[in-house]
């Protein structure tokens, strides 16, 4: 099956003092936490077990919100696993965005974690890099800390939105940032920023004070040239 030759799927290697300390701890199978400005990354026997950041919702609030909106009031194992991974990746994406220079690793004997939520460091770094690239592509329009608001005039064509997207549009009745919405909704800052971006391209939200961008930003679905492409985020 050598007819496939991939290109553009290689992501930048981890660099910097924090990542190198993390890399060494992971490679030696350490257990403990790496303190970085704004939060911490937890390792269990060299695998990433969890990460937390002041600027992203923690796992407890995510689980609570997920259970609240689920029809059954419960969260399946698969979804729970996804929530744990999402909490970790969202926090790590935040912590590693500013290329932190300081880190302190504190070892401990063992960590009480769910094995299902652990991931190899390389996988975490790869996903964090992917998210940084998507954030970079969105930054021309908005970031997690850009104020957004409902558009005074709704688009003239029919749009369908998910419940999450609807919640964002409704809460943006008053100017607010994607980060603020994420913390309130118990959703990832990254995910909320992407959905806010999509709502801006669909003409439901606007960035107050921004120049009236290209027609595509308030246009019909077919003109969504500003739409996010995950293939483009991989360099494709």
């Amino acid at each position: 099956m050598s007819r496939y030759r991939a290109r553009g799927a290689v992501l930048p290697a981890a660099k910097g003092p924090v990542l190198s300390r993390l890399g060494k701890a992971a490679a030696s199978g350490r257990t403990g936490m790496l303190h970085v400005p704004g939060g911490a990354i937890y390792l269990s026997e060299g695998m990433v077990a969890y990460a937390e950041s002041r600027r992203t919702p923690d796992l407890a609030v995510r689980l609570e919100k997920a259970a609240a909106v689920a029809h059954t009031g419960t969260v399946s194992l698969l979804e729970r696993r996804w929530l744990a991974r999402e909490a970790t990746v969202d926090a790590a994406t935040e912590l590693l965005a500013g290329r932190p220079r300081q880190a302190r690793f504190r070892a401990c004997a063992e960590l009480d974690v769910s094995v299902a939520a652990t991931m190899p460091l390389a996988v975490l770094i790869s996903e964090v890099s992917r998210r940084h690239e998507i954030s970079r592509q969105m930054s021309a329009i908005l970031t997690a800390d850009t104020v957004i608001a409902q558009r005074p005039r709704l688009p003239g064509h029919v749009v369908r939105v998910s419940d999450f997207q609807w919640a964002i549009v409704m809460l943006a009745r008053h100017p607010v940032t994607p980060r603020h919405l994420a913390l309130e909704l118990g959703q990832s800052v990254f995910g909320t920023t992407i959905e806010s971006f999509r709502m801006v391209s669909m003409g439901l939200l606007a960035v107050p004070g921004a120049p009236a961008g290209p027609a595509a930003m308030a246009g019909a679905p077919g003109q969504a040239r500003a739409a996010i492409s995950f293939i483009r985020a991989l360099g494709g």
């Binding site: 007819r3 496939y4 030759r5 991939a6 290109r7 553009g8 799927a9 064509h157 029919v158 019909a220 679905p221 077919g222 003109q223 969504a224 739409a227 492409s229 293939i231 483009r232 991989l234 494709g236």
Partner: protein, 123 residues
């Protein structure tokens, strides 16, 4: 077979709600038939264009030799069938699109009929 005849034949397929020949470079239809309250053909053409572009982008990234034969989108009550047009010189940005009522359409038959129409259509 010309565009008009091709679209008429497409609309004769059981369950057909609308059909169009779309240029996926621009998202605009060269011809369209059917549609109505339940189906905005212009918007559907533009939307299906994005679907085709997304798949093309993915295949370019994979450096694939594989060509798209068709794309079927199953919705609660509709099928959307997209058939890119083959072209001898490789320069072709067209696809045939048909929306079908799921309760009335025979999907296997519809795919087969659309394939036949695409093969005899000359633009």
């Amino acid at each position: 077979m010309n565009i008009e005849t091709a679209l008429k034949e497409a609309m004769n397929i059981d369950g057909a709600l609308g059909a169009a020949l779309v240029d996926w470079e621009s998202g605009m239809s060269l011809g369209a038939l059917g549609g109505g309250e339940d189906l905005d053909l212009d918007l559907a053409a533009a939307g299906n264009t994005e679907v085709v572009r997304a798949e093309m982008r993915a295949m370019r990234s994979l450096d694939l030799d594989d060509a798209i034969e068709d794309i079927l989108i199953t919705l609660g009550k509709q099928y959307n069938l997209i058939r890119p047009m083959a072209s001898a010189d490789g320069v072709n940005y067209l696809f045939l699109y048909i929306a079908l009522d799921r309760s009335r359409a025979n999907l296997a038959l519809a795919r087969h009929q659309l394939r036949r129409i695409e093969s005899v259509l000359t633009v």
